[in-house]
Amino acid sequence: MTSVSKPFGSTPGRDVALDQPRVFDVGRHYYEQRHRIHEDAAVLRALIGAVGWPNDLTPAQWAQWYSVALGFAPDLVIELGRGYGNSTALFAQAAWRLGRMKIVSLCVSGEWASMVAPRIARLVEPAWFASIDARRTDILSADYGEIIANHQRVLVLWDAHGFEIAELVLGEILPRLSDRPHLVLMHDISDNRYAGVPRSYGGHQLWKGSRWQQQTGAWNSRVNIGWMNSIQDQVIALADFSARNDLEIESADRQYTEFFAAHPAYANEMRQQLGEEFFSAIGHWASLSLTGKAGPFHFPAITGWRAASSRCAIVADELPRGAAAIVTAAVPWAYASTSAWRPQGSPPLNVQSWIRCRLRVQGGPIGVSLLTPDGRAFVQSQVASSTSPVDVLLAVPELAQRGRLVIHTWDSPVAAQVHIDLSLVW
């Protein structure tokens, strides 16, 4: 067999010789933040207890990401995927420590607001929550230009999965971050060189993609792309991005293992100070940054509503105009309005269009849903809950056969005031 040369070795690309040394050394920062982790161990432990979901993030991973947040000291954390809120809580604690960090947390799940935040509220001062903008929304709908705005140092937690989100991160968020220091943490990627993961398929079928896994429940099938061991489609998108851009995907497992192997005394200090609870050289996460790397970079195109180039207003018969609000009832799933609607423009036939709802929601989570023409089922349904303006996008299957648009309470018995601005994009 021949010797291996680099992917795209015969194609001009960015000059890696111009790259600066790694912008952020996670191993060193873990070590350097050991005193703060130690000082905050009790509060971290209490927060872990309040979240009550260590399956998603072990205490050692809490400490690792806490050290990243403290060491990198971003002015903005964008959290893609919140779940129960392990990372939300640890980032908020880091923000509490640092004092000038905003967290925009995007997730469709409601556990944070309904269960976890009330439990945490018993442990911390109300001001502890001031850094968190926890939105219940579709990650694919968010306006990242607005979220990133003038922030100068951005930490992204990429903890929501699938190819569509990968495309969003690599094609929409990363280009916006390339001109400012940034670091992207990626959960659920183990390093098969260090993490002791089995080579064997273990009697399981070939991994056939995240959607297949969700359909079949074959959760034990894993895929290895180079050193990345995962169950997420994301690693394929990462391998592709890495190859095209001659960019190394960093492994926390590798950085920690090599750093502490090179400094055994540091590892002993960490063990002594933090114990096995908060110290581990295995993280099962990866990172990515373009900061300090010489361009130009290649990014994938964005599909879906972000690629839309035309827009017109929508007229809806039951929706209030101007400053008036819709009020949803404090009853889960109760309808507040059911509107017939029509676009004021004329999109071409057979072109995909989306209803873009610009929402301000005060109160509980609401749903924006599109009914089938016969009104018997939802074609699409999106949740929204945010103190900041958010976008909800609903794909319209067939404009000529459009169903009514419903604003309704979501799963919690909490009323809300909803200001809505509608347009059609295609």
Binding site: M1, T2, V4, S5, K6, P7, F8, G9, S10, T11, F163, E164, A166, E167, L170, G171, N192, R193, Y194, A195, G196, V197, R199, S200, Y201, G203, H204, Q205, L206, W207, K208, G209, R211, T216, G217, A218, S221, V223, N224, I225, G226, W227, M228, D233, I236, A237, L238, A239, D240, S242, A243, R244, D246, E248, I249, H298, P300, A301, I302, T303
Partner: protein, 429 residues
């Protein structure tokens, strides 16, 4: 991806590559050594290419490359997974005719070879030319590979049908059966991005999101790169995984051809002189691997539907009182011979990984057996079966045991009637 040392799975015991025998198969050397034979056969190869008439799938230089692989490897069996119009089928048949001892089993659900290409090829070759070919219009997932491989000792496998399910059958069913025999696997549609100035850019295309997405959306220009492999096929994900787990290098024909012919321009000049640009190129766009000469043990995936099931239920079929039952299909392509509603007699737990298992024997033409979707026209799953002397087992995944689609037996692509005997029918999970 840039992966530096240590090697993958370095912390996990695995096979000892230090015990691997030196590489035995050299595709570049085979190409060079076959140049005279290719030159002699150029006329008939050209006629065959014209008869197949589908150079989009395989260019003349790729014909010559694979022809040289057959002549160099000298298999006693070529197993062709995916035939389409029959470019590879034709070149393998011609190589087999040259070698004299090689059998070809070609599996594909397409009827193009049978209905179009073979008759055109028959005008340029003698009838005996077809004798070594067993071209089945069947589903690659349902074939009996133990039976196909039989006692063959030197097997060339062309993996030219795509998707994760086929990858699973190749890596989990066929490869373990090839371990005890010399074998060589050719994989089509994999470009080496290290050569030929392949563009790094996404070119305004979205992220590649899998073969199923590509078929659904028609975004055929999106491609994925895993290391040096660039493709539009899910298969390279499975190959990258298999390669990592088994510390096994996937070979690149582009790389091998560049290595030999760039390093020795004299050889390239000879090739050009013998074959011209028509049959000589260092651009190959295919990959290869073999476990032959490699020290084990190897890791193979399990194959869905071929595992042992712990539960089984008899199946009640409306309008069918007992088994065996026989269905005779019309001599009309795609005509339904039967469409039965059915249900298991035992409740299947919700979420169980359930499969409808049939044991059937097919005589006459090829047939399709599948489960209809609720709309009564689309198939949730369907397998093609070619006529065989013995009964075969067909496994149909049942995605939702609370919504069972009708069981259909139909004529396949060729308008040939078939007699289908169903010996057994059960739901297993």
């Amino acid at each position: 991806m840039r992966v530096s040392s240590p090697t993958l799975f370095a912390a996990t015991p695995g096979r000892d590559i230090a015990n691997d025998a030196p590489e035995r198969f050299d595709v570049a050397r085979w190409y060079y050594e076959a140049r005279r034979r290719v030159a002699v056969d150029a006329g008939v190869l050209r006629q065959l290419i014209t008869a197949v008439d589908w150079t989009n799938d395989l260019w003349p230089s790729q014909w010559a490359q694979w022809y040289s692989v057959v002549l160099g490897f000298r298999p006693d069996l070529i197993l062709e997974l995916g035939r389409g119009k029959g470019n590879s089928t034709a070149l393998f048949c011609h190589a087999a005719a040259t070698l004299g001892q090689t059998q070809i089993v070609s599996l594909c659900h397409s009827g193009d070879w049978t209905m179009q290409t073979a008759s055109r090829v028959a005008k340029v070759v003698r009838q005996q030319w077809f004798d070594r070919l067993d071209a089945r219009m069947t589903d690659i997932l349902t074939a009996d590979y133990a039976d196909i491989l039989g006692d063959h000792q030197r097997v060339l496998l062309l993996w030219d049908a795509h998707g994760f399910d086929v990858a699973e059958v190749v890596l989990g069913e066929i490869l373990p059966r090839l371990l005890g025999r010399e074998h060589f696997v050719i994989m089509h549609d994999i470009i080496d991005n290290r050569h030929g100035g392949v563009s790094r850019s996404y070119h305004g295309q979205p992220l590649w999101k899998g073969s199923e997405w590509q078929q659904r959306t028609g975004c055929v220009d999106a491609r994925v790169n895993i290391g040096w492999m660039q493709s539009i096929q899910d298969q390279i994900v499975a190959i990258a995984d298999f390669s990592a787990r088994n510390n096994l290098e996937i070979g690149s024909a582009d790389h091998e051809y560049h290595r030999l012919f760039d390093e020795d321009p004299g050889l390239a000049a000879e090739m050009r002189e013998s074959l011209g640009e028509e049959f000589f190129s260092t651009l190959a766009q295919w990959a290869f691997f073999s476990l032959t000469g490699k020290a084990g043990p190897f890791e193979f995936p399990a194959v869905g539907g071929r595992r042992a099931f712990s539960h089984e239920s008899r199946v009640a079929v409306d309008g069918l009182s007992q088994l065996p039952a026989t269905v005779v299909t019309n001599a009309r392509a795609w005509a339904f011979g039967s469409a039965w509603t059915w249900r298991p007699v035992i409740d299947v737990p919700r979420g169980a990984d359930a499969w409808l298992r049939l044991r059937v024997q097919v005589d006459g033409g090829s047939v399709g057996i599948g489960l209809l979707a609720a709309n009564g026209t689309d198939f949730l799953v369907r397998r093609a079966l070619s006529p065989r002397d013995a009964a075969v087992e067909v496994m149909l995944p049942v995605a939702d045991s609370s919504s069972l689609g009708s069981l259909v037996v139909q004529t396949w692509a060729a308008p040939v009637s078939a007699r289908v005997r169903i010996d057994d029918l059960a739901l297993v999970w």
